[in-house]
């Protein structure tokens, strides 16, 4: 129980320190996705804006999942290490996973907030409806988060300096979102490239998430991809656990 209380207190502190008190962070994590939704819906919406935004909203949320993992957890851990904040935590008697879990929980709550805002704005402005089963949506979102948090943690574990961690995170997040069916439908790419892009865990996650949330698909339909995401999660976790350093 005590550990749980510490976990919640630390998660709340993370939310306040790194989000609520950071204007830039609020802007980038809340305003920018909505801004993208408007720009892309009107600019790319060849047909109806409803169709485009139905495609875009899960893509934007999916891109935020990638960025939560790579930036929010991975690069953040490297920053915390370089700023010698991790070693201070390491010297306290809390179980080491608590701090890590609190960082993940904080990003998950932020992600929920981002998803909620996009869904509400999409509903009001573009008449987009989330038709999927809430439990299935929750499962696929959590699995995606687990995959990209564990892969992001590999960056935090292997990379020493904040600067290179940030560079790697941005090199991974931004192009991956464009190549993974988040903003641009994958069939706009030549077929050969498209089939390669479908091998990316980010594409598989975003496609599955979109199908389940917006088109009412069942989890079972994406069984193979879900299995692959689980494999990535395990690989990421094992590599991170092997190489992670507090000091």
């Amino acid at each position: 129980m005590t550990v749980l209380r510490i976990l919640l207190a630390q998660t709340r502190a993370n939310f306040v320190w790194y989000f609520l008190r950071d204007g830039e962070m609020i802007f980038w994590s809340l305003a920018i996705p909505v801004f993208f939704l408007f720009v892309f819906s009107f600019a790319l919406g060849g047909g109806s804006t409803k169709q485009t935004s139905t495609f875009l909203i899960p893509g934007l949320i999916g891109a935020q999942v990638l960025s939560s993992g790579f930036w929010g957890v991975g690069a953040m851990l490297a920053t915390f290490r370089e700023k010698k904040l991790l070693r201070r935590i390491y010297l306290t008697p809390i179980p080491s996973w608590t701090f890590f879990a609190s960082l993940v929980l904080y990003r998950m709550s932020l992600l929920a907030l981002q998803a909620l805002i996009l869904a509400i704005v999409g509903g009001i402005v573009f008449h987009v409806h989330v038709v999927g089963d809430p439990v299935s949506i929750g499962v696929i979102l959590l699995l995606g988060a687990a995959t990209f948090v564990s892969l992001g943690t590999v960056i935090g574990a292997v990379v020493r300096s904040t600067e290179s961690a940030n560079n790697i995170a941005s090199v991974l997040t931004v192009p991956l979102a464009f190549l993974s069916d988040a903003y641009i439908p994958i069939d706009r790419f030549p077929a050969a490239i498209g089939s390669v892009l479908r091998l990316l865990p980010s594409t598989q996650f975003i496609d599955a998430f979109r199908g389940i949330a917006m088109y009412g698909d069942s989890l079972a339909r994406y069984g193979a991809w879900i299995a692959l995401l689980c494999v990535w999660t395990v690989v990421g976790t094992v590599v991170s656990a092997r190489f992670f350093r507090w000091v």
Partner: protein, 315 residues
């Protein structure tokens, strides 16, 4: 308890080709204030970090309260019983001091004593301030409060007053004295002579990863500080054989200087009595007793202070 609070045996730590600690051994009796004194880069911080489990020794062993910080189970026990103020403690910039103290109390599972601790470290007016808006010295004092919040048995302070103003130093010194009175064991690293001399029961002088001297401050001074000297001006002063034996004399015009063998007080009395007998007035008298700094320079062959040392190197 006869067992030492800390026992370091043949500690060696290499980082690649660099040997930071080159065979250091010492033990610290419970209740002792133990100082590692040396220049930056001498290996003090690395030694301290191996004691608190942040750095694994290349070879040799470390025991703190009988526990081995390199062993997982021991380390977990140890963390509850030691308090640590690190040299560059970084706390989240957007956190308030009070929030930090509350959260760390939760980490250690102790009742939050935020107001009391803040007062002890002189931060009672700064509890609502963001860490990022605090001065370096204030951040150091907050780090000190964190180190003490769970009432640890052994406290490690790494350059505790670096970047602190006079107020911060007084607070830290008062806390060290309070901890000593409470029977705690303290290890501190410093490159400030005054701090080592004033606070430490025992001092290890560390140079290039080795301990080159270890004793109490008065003993180090007595053994290595050299002679006291008396320096004065007196027109018409002259030596006689009874004064000759006091020590080694030099004269420059009206200025006289003697490096005294033994206790300078008696020599001073003899000089004054002799001047009275000769009926000459003494001006501008100065008695210089050797201090820890003299001992440090004699032992290591270099000045402690970086600025002084680099000024000397430049000249």
């Amino acid at each position: 308890m006869n067992e030492p609070a800390i026992a370091v045996t043949n500690l060696v730590k290499r980082f690649g080709d660099v040997t930071a600690v080159d065979g250091i051994s010492f033990d610290v009796a419970p209740g002792t204030i133990f100082g590692l004194l040396g220049r930056n880069g001498a290996g003090k911080t690395t030694t301290l970090e191996t004691c608190i489990g942040l750095t694994a020794p290349t070879s040799g062993s470390v025991r703190v309260l009988g526990l081995d910080p390199t062993r997982r189970g021991d380390f977990a026990q140890l963390k509850r019983r030691i308090g640590v103020q690190l040299q560059a403690t970084s706390l989240p910039e957007k956190a308030k001091a009070a929030e930090i103290l509350d959260l760390y109390a939760a980490y250690y599972g102790v009742r939050p004593r935020t107001a009391e601790l803040a007062e002890r470290v002189g931060l009672e007016d700064k509890l609502d301030r963001f860490v990022g808006k605090m001065s370096g010295g204030e951040q150091q004092r907050l780090a000190l409060a964190i180190a003490l919040l769970h009432d640890p048995d052994v406290v490690f302070l790494d350059e505790p007053t670096a970047g602190m103003d006079a107020f911060g130093r007084r607070i830290l010194w008062a806390e060290v004295e309070r901890l000593k009175a409470a029977g705690k064991t303290l290890v501190l690293t410093t490159h400030y002579i005054e701090e080592a001399e004033r606070l430490c029961d025992e001092i290890c002088i560390v140079q290039a990863g080795r301990i080159v001297a270890r004793d109490t401050a008065p003993a180090l001074v007595a053994a290595h500080g050299g002679d006291a000297f008396i320096d004065f001006a007196a027109r018409g002063f002259a030596l006689d054989p009874s004064l000759d034996v006091l020590g080694r004399w030099t004269q420059k015009g009206e200025r006289w200087q003697v490096f005294v063998h033994g206790e300078p007080g008696r020599a001073l009395g003899a000089i004054v009595a002799h001047a009275n007998a000769l009926d000459v007035a003494i001006d501008d008298l100065d008695l210089h007793r050797p201090g820890l700094e003299d001992a440090f320079i004699a032992i290591t062959g270099e000045a402690l202070d970086d600025e002084a040392a680099s000024a000397k190197a430049a000249a």
